[in-house]
Point group: C2
Chain length 428, copies 2
């Protein structure tokens, strides 16, 4: 039995081969996954049935049990998804910059795979297929840890993917499945072998990963998003946008948790917006100034500004102006997505510039903050980190770059002595 370190080291070695496969070979391997998922459907369903029976007998909560399901329909969706990933533009080997340093001395900055990605996710087995597809497309080796409830589904899916891709030319060992919590703790220590960690799951889980590793983490713990209704806002727009941003899908990270209302327009805007939200079943928790206008609200405490409800609850605060809204957001927002509703372009720009979040929006629902809606193709995740990748991350978030210098014998001594001079001419 290999240790986790040995298995991740194997992934790293495989990654050095994988990163040099051309885009066509990587796409052929993706198509092989699609074909194998279809051919081995019965095995996969049988394994998933075992997981679900175990879940049922152990009394797993209904929403989790539902996420566990990987039936013919889900499998078909995964196959479509893998083919869509194959159809994406190749993210590897893209030239970002080309520059003549001197005659016969050329610099190219080009994208390359990052190396070894570790992905830790909760129960959904379809996530395994998607992330394996994204890693393969971007030339990265992958270490996966799925939810323990889905152990049989994950095993068969990882096996099907490994076999199909290796037969199609991918290096043995490029995808590794680990299974226990002890394995995860071991992964967190392997900052010499793992280049990027992508945890998907509850806030507490992501926070735990972020707090216990030196490996860079792509993801977000909290999604405390805001919508600010400005004095120059149209009331119908406020109603539509607030209702959509809070209720269109309540348990996700890009849903708003706090509504800020400009004091100069609170009497005009807050009553109809509050009424529309209450009609959708939203519980409102307001500051004193907002409760003076809509007394039916429960009182909000400071804790509410720091809370991601992920539920039909919304905190409401009246603020003096756009600057106060920006200040509140920069203090309390998780830096995920924040929006302003206004018909005043100058106020909108002040907000868009002032708010220091990954996504900022004007007259649009925060729910648009999503890789698919942004047109990024398959979504790797949404990052609230400030470097590398920010906001919704597509497959481009799984590559880095390298510098390639092609010369004809040049030495630095000639440039130091002034015998030769750099031209530094950008090439198209």
């Amino acid at each position: 039995m290999s240790t986790i370190r040995e298995r991740v080291a194997e992934a790293r070695r495989a990654g050095l081969i994988l990163r040099n496969l051309d885009g066509e070979t990587r796409n052929r391997a993706l198509e092989a996954i699609a074909v194998a998922l279809n051919e081995r459907g019965e095995e996969i369903e049988a394994a998933n049935k075992r997981d679900r029976e175990r879940a049922e007998s152990s009394g797993l909560a209904a929403p989790l049990a539902k996420r566990l399901k990987f039936d013919a329909g889900k499998r078909e969706q995964s196959i479509v998804g893998v083919r869509a990933i194959a159809a994406l533009t190749d993210p590897v080997g893209r030239v970002l910059k080309r520059r003549e340093l001197d005659e016969g001395l050329e610099l190219t900055q080009q994208t390359t795979p990052i190396g070894v990605i570790a992905m830790i996710f909760e129960s959904r087995p379809d996530a395994l297929v998607q992330i394996a597809g994204l890693a393969l497309k971007s030339g990265n080796a992958l270490v996966l840890k799925g939810g323990s409830e889905a152990v049989d589904s994950n095993r068969i899916l990882a096996e099907v993917i490994a076999e199909a891709t290796v037969a199609a030319g991918a290096p043995t060992g490029w995808i590794q499945l680990v299974e226990t919590r002890e394995d995860v703790r071991a992964l967190l220590e392997l900052d010499d072998l793992i280049d990027l960690m992508i945890p998907r799951g509850s806030n507490e889980f992501v926070r735990y990963i972020m707090d216990h590793t030196r490996i860079p983490v792509l993801g977000h713990a909290d999604g405390i998003c805001h919508m600010y209704l400005d004095r120059a806002a149209d009331v119908a727009r406020c109603v539509n946008l607030a209702v959509d941003a809070k209720t269109q899908y309540v348990a996700v990270c890009n849903t708003i948790e706090t509504l800020l209302v400009d004091a100069a327009a609170a009497e005009r805007l807050l009553p109809p917006v509050a009424a529309a939200l209450v009609e959708q079943g939203v519980e409102l928790r307001g500051c004193e100034r907002s409760r003076a206008i809509v007394p039916e609200m429960k009182p909000a405490t400071e804790e509410d500004w720091a809370t991601e409800y992920l539920d039909l609850i919304l905190s409401v605060k009246v603020v003096d102006d756009v600057a106060a809204a920006v200040d509140h957001i920069n203090r309390w927002s998780s830096g995920h997505t924040d929006a302003i509703v206004t018909e005043d372009a100058a106020t909108a720009e002040a907000f868009l510039n002032g708010v220091d979040s990954a996504s900022v929006m004007w007259n649009a629902s925060t729910r648009f903050a999503d890789g698919y809606r942004y047109g990024l193709g398959a979504e790797v995740g949404i990052s609230t980190a400030r470097i590398h990748a920010r906001g919704p991350v597509g497959v481009e978030g799984l590559v880095t770059y390298k510098w390639v210098v092609r010369g004809t014998g040049q030495v630095v001594a000639d440039y130091s002595s002034g015998t030769r001079h750099f031209t530094h001419r950008d090439l198209s």
Copy 2:
């Protein structure tokens, strides 16, 4: 007396203002630094003199004492440097992507400052001026820790820069100077306030920083660089390139520490290359196969492959072919810069693709791996990290991006229900 946390929090608040200054104001503040360095030259020289006298009486080593010097000449260089930074293209607000999501709903991905940068450097006071200029240009607040030998110089320079820039419109507190090792330890804990750490100094020092913080670190500990002489290499090129890469400036990170020689050409290439290096005073430490060809070499042990000498010492190893060279490099290189010398384009491309380092070179000296030589303008540092910024990093490494969505009232519910559809049309 404020605590370190309070001072960094002040920098963070100032950073939220700084990031919204337009490029013109930031450039005016840079010019104000240049003017103030000139006007307050006597004060600065007096402070520097106190540092140097203290250094002398405490017996500071001559190279360190030399680096400490900040006289009229060095000051003039700093002034020229600050003006060169002002002349760089504005790295902030650059549009990376513009996409119509639907009619009246537009997405922009644009560069923004990272936020708060902490820079820790050793004795050179001119580094303080340069990094303050780069931070200001890129709209980032800055926390600085200089070498304790330069405490008087650093204080006056930080004061001059703070006063001049605040008078020119920068927010009070955007630049903070901290002084003790305890302060540095405190900084390492502030991952909620500091976004990026840039340590400059000895390998041990950078390694210490990397190992003791969760803040992303831009930099490199080791520079174990390689040059591989291929069977299809021209012997005169091998001599020139090996001599330049080892001896042009020996104590820097992009100097080679190991020379790999193709077995099929070792008898042809190694004797003249070894002779040229020995003539330059280089001590060679060879593997058994290379000592069979040049017996004068000392024997190398495995430890040599892992050593950054930063001195006139070079390890030499004969390898079977380009694949073996790539394997050796991917195992032992620090991922900084590695080069191949060959006249065979296919072999060169195999090397450039196979070697997983920040910079890879063909028929050029590794000494070209440098921000100035790459034409990046002032250099922030050289990074061996795999994400965010890799290799030589210019001011572009001090920005991140944000997503801005400008809509006209769009809600996600309309796209989920199929009432509306995304156009996802890239705009120029």
